[in-house]
């Protein structure tokens, strides 16, 4: 059977890549053993394909075909090009933490004068010299998902951020992933953010390419633990190069009365997937998660969210908007799990797709798994084209066609963007959306 053969070939190429890379990967002893097990888990499964239900619409075996060799550590030239790309990514007042080709770049990052109660380390440091409990926590996501398992095996660097109890920082942290694009390569990063009780943090994650970057692959994972009564405001902007692959995962755990306001926007990359699992571990927590896909050409972008209500009295809101042009393909999968104990859960999800061409495609898969009987859960989905009567009204007022469309597209994604609570983060998202609209005009 063809698929089996393809898997074997890909597996063989990667097995040798792992064998070649393993001596350069940070962490010996126990870490090396974690990596070996993770690689075996990946190797057994291979690249996810359409017959795995969670990956039904994003068949990496067809789209990605193989995993590129591990990116070499960036040289001076790569760092220079990354520095130029960084200029476009300024988030007002943010503290930048920069990863170039999967390796932390201290000269491009701002790690001096850390605020009291804020700890920032690199993943490499933690894997090489961290305590065993923290290392185990970093490997906790396990190997149930093949791409997470591969990340466990291959991760080279990232940032490990800690907020002490009660520390509230207005200054955003900005993790910028830059691909220098010198050679076709894969980068594997993992970061962790731990918020102590009653702390407050603002985090932006950006994925970009240096000018002229060609094909590359990003595989990233962010582990987030939000302590009791802590709050995290989070924005994630995927603006990778147009030949790039970006497979990113997130594991978020919320303590009691914690609050997580998160927004993700994908306008870049050839093929991308953001898969996040959010677990309510303490009562009274709240999540607002909103997302926008802005796609054209032959882009494929998948957002897969799992909202796991494990305890009573929590609320979640999901608003997702997809704008799909040309032959692009947008996927939204939203699963809401309400476990038997999770009474008084209030969970809602609304997705809308705007199709700008006859060949554009948007797939929407809501899944509600409700095992408690006293809950409020709902979902809705719509898709359609731009309203002709609105377009004519705007054009009759002097707006050229693309400008009229742009105004209506902005309005369409507006509700998701407006839900970003932090003003600075909202501006960063609006700027990224405008970049897409201007490139389209």
């Amino acid at each position: 059977m063809n698929v089996a053969v393809a898997k074997t070939d890909t597996g063989r190429v990667l097995s040798s890549a792992f064998a070649a890379a393993r001596d350069q990967l940070p962490g010996g002893g126990k870490i090396a053993e974690f990596r070996r097990q993770a690689f075996e888990a990946y190797d057994r499964a291979g690249l996810p394909h359409r017959r795995i239900e969670d990956w039904k619409y994003t068949d990496l075996r067809a789209l990605m075909r193989d995993i590129l060799p591990l990116a070499p550590a960036p040289d001076a030239d790569a760092l220079n090009r990354a520095a130029s790309a960084l200029k476009l990514q300024a988030v007002q007042g943010a503290r930048r933490l920069v990863l170039v080709d999967g390796v932390f770049a201290p000269d491009l990052s701002e790690t001096q004068d850390l605020e009291q109660g804020l700890g920032v380390r690199t993943l490499r440091e933690v894997l090489e010299a961290g305590d065993a409990a923290l290392q185990a926590q970093l490997f906790a996501p396990g190997g149930a998902d093949a791409m997470v398992a591969l990340n466990s095996a291959m991760m080279t660097d990232g940032v490990v951020i800690d907020f002490a109890d009660g520390v509230i920082l207005k200054r955003p942290l900005h993790i910028v992933h830059i691909a220098s694009g010198a050679t076709p390569a894969a980068m594997f990063t993992r970061s962790m953010l731990r918020l102590g009780k009653q702390s407050g943090a603002t985090l932006v994650e950006s994925y970009v390419a240096a000018g002229g970057a060609g094909a590359y692959q990003v595989n990233d994972l962010l582990i987030t633990a939000i302590g009791d009564r802590a709050r995290l405001d989070h924005v994630r902007l995927t603006e990778d190069g147009r030949e790039a692959f970006n497979i990113s995962s997130a594991m978020v755990t919320l303590g009691a009365h914690a609050h997580f306001n998160t927004f993700g926007m994908t306008s870049g990359a050839s093929v991308s997937r953001y898969q996040a699992t959010i677990v309510f571990a303490g009562e009274g927590a709240r999540v607002e998660t909103n997302g926008v896909n802005l796609l054209n050409g032959r882009q494929h972008a998948d957002t897969t969210l799992v909202m796991d209500h494990a305890v009573p009295n929590c609320g979640s809101r999901e608003i997702f908007r997809a704008v799909v042009d040309d032959r692009a393909h947008s996927v939204f999968q939203g699963r809401i799990i309400v476990r038997p104990k999770a009474q008084k859960t209030d969970a809602k999800m609304m997705t809308r797709a705007l199709l700008l061409s006859d060949e554009a495609e948007a797939d929407n898969k809501p899944e509600l798994e409700i095992f408690a009987d006293d809950v409020t859960c709902g979902h809705g989905a719509t898709s359609g084209a731009l309203d002709e009567s609105l377009l004519f009204y705007l054009r009759a007022r002097g707006l050229p066609e693309k400008a009229a469309q742009a105004l209506l597209i902005q309005a369409f994604v507006g509700e998701a963007i407006e839900s970003i609570a932090d003003d600075g983060l909202r501006d960063a998202a609006i700027t990224a959306a405008q970049r897409w609209l201007e490139a389209r005009a």
Partner: protein, 252 residues
């Protein structure tokens, strides 16, 4: 003198049905023309075709505006040249703030004419002046375009745009529909304030009532896709007394 707007023998279809069967009309600069006629006579079709709404097929005839072929232009090009259609049913555009819409539209028109864009303070000053004269509160301008506006507010928002864009041809499509007498008076006052020797208006209406407030120079009667009679303002009163039935026979 060349007419500002000249419609010659216009034949228009929607899908397979012909709506206008060879309509001709000439409007000079500074004039206000009323087009009256029963429902289904093609009044709104004429206004849509002049503004460039998609879905209408012009099978014969031409429309000249300032001597140029209007039918060759996109709707936004027509707007930049000075054609303004006040919609019978202005659409609601949630998520697009009125102020942002007004500025984007005004600057798009100016850019198309090769004029410089308005600075923000100049623009705000201009909008505030016009809004005040039309009794439009600032709060309305912060809302989405026409979102939650009453019928009267929507019409006043159309007139606000007319005042802001300073078109040379205004087409008012059934401006009186859905307005009570007070709202009608406010809207008509707004329109009258914009009458000028440089500007022509075409007022489309079913009822004579509107023409008590906006007094036309010329009245045309449309029936079954043609102009069947033209005359002075007294023609409107004549129609009010005798109805449209006589003209339907003429057209048939």
């Amino acid at each position: 003198m060349m007419a500002l707007l000249e419609v010659r023998n216009l034949q228009v279809r929607v899908e397979e049905r012909e709506i206008l069967h060879g309509l001709s009309l000439a409007v000079n600069q500074g004039e206000v023309h009323a087009i009256m006629g029963p429902n289904g006579s093609g009044k709104s079709t004429l206004s849509h075709v002049i503004a460039g709404k998609p879905g209408y097929e012009v099978t014969s005839g031409e429309i000249l505006f300032k001597g140029e072929d209007l039918l060759e232009m996109s709707p936004d090009e027509r707007a930049a040249k000075g054609v303004f259609l006040a919609f019978q049913y202005p659409v609601e555009i949630p998520g697009v703030a009125t102020m942002n819409f007004l500025r984007t539209a005004l600057n798009a028109q100016r850019k198309a004419r090769g004029e410089s864009e308005y600075s923000t303070p100049d623009f705000l000053k201009k909008v505030r002046e016009v809004a005040k004269s039309l009794n439009i509160p600032q709060e309305m301008l912060r809302r989405g375009v026409n979102v939650g506006f009453s019928g009267g507010e929507k019409k006043r928002n159309e007139i606000l745009q007319m005042a802001l864009f300073e078109p040379s041809l205004c087409i008012l499509d059934e401006m009186d529909s859905g307005l009570d007498i007070d709202a009608l008076r406010v809207a008509a006052d707004g329109v009258n304030a914009l009458r000028s020797p440089d500007r022509a208006m075409v007022v489309i209406t079913h009822y004579q009532r509107l023409l008590n407030y906006i007094v036309p120079d010329v009245v045309h009667v449309m029936s079954k896709g043609r102009v069947v009679k033209s005359g002075g303002k007294e023609l409107a009163l004549e129609l009010e007394a005798s109805g449209y039935a006589q003209f339907e026979e003429v057209a048939a």
